[in-house]
């Protein structure tokens, strides 16, 4: 269970995680929005379609690839939330990959 330790009252932005509205402090990572909302699956594995989630949080494992505002393959741990951002789980598999 992820939670925030912030006690200040940071400015918040509202994002949509898989269609559900979530409020997070402005400037935080997209991954933190997923973690705090409990929707931790970032993508489906390319072959088995098993659920995957952020692993390194520092941009080197590429497990956190999500779709942001219609753009696929965005690293949730490196991108930061902005007002109205639409974040969705990525479901690119072997078949759809070739188009990118």
């Amino acid at each position: 269970m992820f939670r925030s330790l912030r006690t200040d009252a940071p400015a918040r932005v509202r994002v949509l995680v898989n269609g559900h509205p979530v409020e997070v402090p402005a400037g935080q990572s997209v991954w933190s929005a997923l973690a705090l909302s409990g929707q931790i699956t970032t993508r489906k594995a390319a072959l088995s379609a098993q659920d995957r989630s952020a692993y390194c949080a520092m941009g080197v494992c590429f497990e956190c690839l999500v779709d942001i505002d219609g753009l696929p393959n965005q690293q949730a741990c490196l991108r930061r939330v902005t007002e109205g951002m639409q974040i969705t789980m990525q479901t690119i598999t072997e078949d759809t990959k070739a188009e990118l």
Binding site: M1, S4, L36, I40, N73
Partner: protein
């Protein structure tokens, strides 16, 4: 127009280098993919979202001073600049703000830092399994923690994050320590060298003491780790001398050491050497960090694991050498100014040797033991798949990659690379140095056409262009 110097990475190494360059009138372009300067250890130290950053330790607070000095140095810092190509011709390409930029450098200093050694245990790809470094990043950047997590593995960074969690009142389910008993015996002869910098040693010991005092379950001599759960992590199973154990937890943080982040230096084609003490590849360098390409230097954990203080020493040394190559100082001045850092690095190396031996990871945790455990997370290739590829004749990492696709996914082998080299070494019964590593190429990240089509060049400010 070329910059005198471009630095990739604004951790302790890159920041220290920039300060030394600035002292001699060179204003470097510094590219870093993070939102703020600081690197791993000092991540967000200048603007911590935590109510009280002192719980992260005195080192962390000290980082804020380095960042302040760096920010005032006049270095041209570019945040959220993700470098994906560094060419031997001095051209550097990076993504920023949805577009692509090119910069050109006479001297290049690479300070990409380390990444965590993979621990390919059954279930390590399940959601809820992360690295201890990830826990650090979430805590420092976003003040986000995982309540009731289990931490498993070995080494100072693992103990540090557990201690930080406990200071913050975050519940920790257990610390599962995989440091083999035998390591204590083997490290003992190196203790004298480590005692030359006693502060480093006491820091480590006090962390373990603090964790024991907190009264959380600590399991020592653990082996045979396995993450429980079908669709996501539900806990950790392992074996201690007292028998099999199971801890329920929905987050499992793994860690057994760090290794240099190899992709940039590999793709650039500079020479690397296998280091059997640190069990990783080092970039071949002279004492000033100059690589086998004269105008490319490497400093900090990206070249070999030296820790934060060592990274700063190396950053300054590389800067002095580049200043000399740029004609800003002569050799005698360089050598004179280098003396203190060279001496300090020697001392720190003594501590490092001890830590490396004490926390040398278990061989059985560095490569999978079950045929269906995944090695390549991106392309979902298991130990069994790789063995079949080896039996079909693929005897080196590149052959195995073309045959099985292991290492062809978006992470470009950052996770599976060390595992594959080790497996092939075991199977061939030859040292890893003979087996080698993947041949890598740019770009070092996924790129979209849209990003590539928005192209800009970054030039030095006019007053310093020569």
């Amino acid at each position: 127009m070329a910059h005198d110097c471009v630095i990739v990475g604004a951790g302790p190494a890159g920041m220290a280098a920039a300060l030394t360059l600035a002292d001699h009138g060179v204003r470097p372009l510094v590219l870093d993919r993070a939102a703020r300067p600081g690197g791993q250890i000092y991540r967000a130290a200048s603007a911590s979202p935590l109510p009280d950053r002192s719980v992260l330790g005195a080192d962390y607070a000290a980082g804020a001073e380095l960042i302040t000095a760096y920010t005032a140095s006049g270095a041209d810092h570019r945040a959220e600049a993700d470098v994906w190509h560094v060419g031997a011709d001095g051209k550097i390409l990076f993504s920023t703000d949805g577009g692509t930029c090119q910069a050109e450098a006479r001297e290049i200093l690479l300070c990409p830092g380390a990444l965590e050694r993979p621990m390919p245990i059954p279930g390590w790809t399940l959601p809820g399994v992360m690295t201890a470094g990830a826990a650090q990043v979430m805590l420092k950047s976003d003040a986000v923690v995982a309540e009731g997590a289990v931490f498993a593995g070995s080494g100072p960074l693992l103990y540090l994050i557990v201690a930080q969690y406990l200071r913050l009142g975050v519940k920790v389910a257990a610390l599962v320590d995989t440091t083999p008993r035998d390591n204590y015996l083997r490290a003992a002869p190196l203790l004298a060298g480590a005692l030359r910098v006693p502060s480093m040693l006491t820091k480590g010991l006090s962390l373990l003491h603090e964790i024991r005092q907190a009264g959380i379950p600590v399991f020592r001599w653990a082996s045979d780790l396995q993450v429980l759960g079908q669709d996501r992590a539900r806990g950790l199973r392992f074996v201690t001398p007292k028998g099999a154990q199971e801890i329920a937890a929905d987050t499992v943080f793994l860690h057994h050491g760090v290794t240099p982040n190899p992709n940039m230096t590999r793709a650039l084609g500079v020479q690397h050497d296998w280091n059997p003490d640190q069990l990783c590849w080092h970039v071949r360098r002279d004492p000033f960090g100059q690589s086998t390409l004269a105008h490319v230097s490497v400093a900090g954990d990206g070249g070999a694991i030296v820790g934060a203080e060592g990274a700063q020493c190396e950053g300054r040394l590389a800067a002095l050498n580049m200043l000399c190559r740029l004609g800003r100082i002569d050799r005698a001045t360089r050598d004179h100014l280098a003396r203190a850092d060279l001496t300090r690095l020697k001392r720190l190396a003594g501590v490092r040797r001890f830590i490396d031996r004490l926390y040398r990871p278990q061989a059985a945790l560095r490569v999978p033991q079950c045929p269906d455990t995944l090695v390549c997370r991106c392309e979902e290739r298991s130990l069994g798949d790789l063995r079949a590829g080896f039996d079909a004749g693929a005897r080196d990492p590149n052959a195995l990659k073309s045959l099985t696709r292991c290492g062809m996914g978006p992470c470009q082998g950052r996770q599976c690379g060390p595992i594959v080299s080790q497996l092939l070494a075991d199977w061939r019964d030859e040292p890893v140095s003979e087996v080698g590593y993947y041949r890598l190429r740019s770009p070092q990240r996924l790129l979209s056409l849209q990003e590539l089509s928005r192209f800009n060049r970054v030039h030095p400010a006019p007053e310093e262009a020569q």
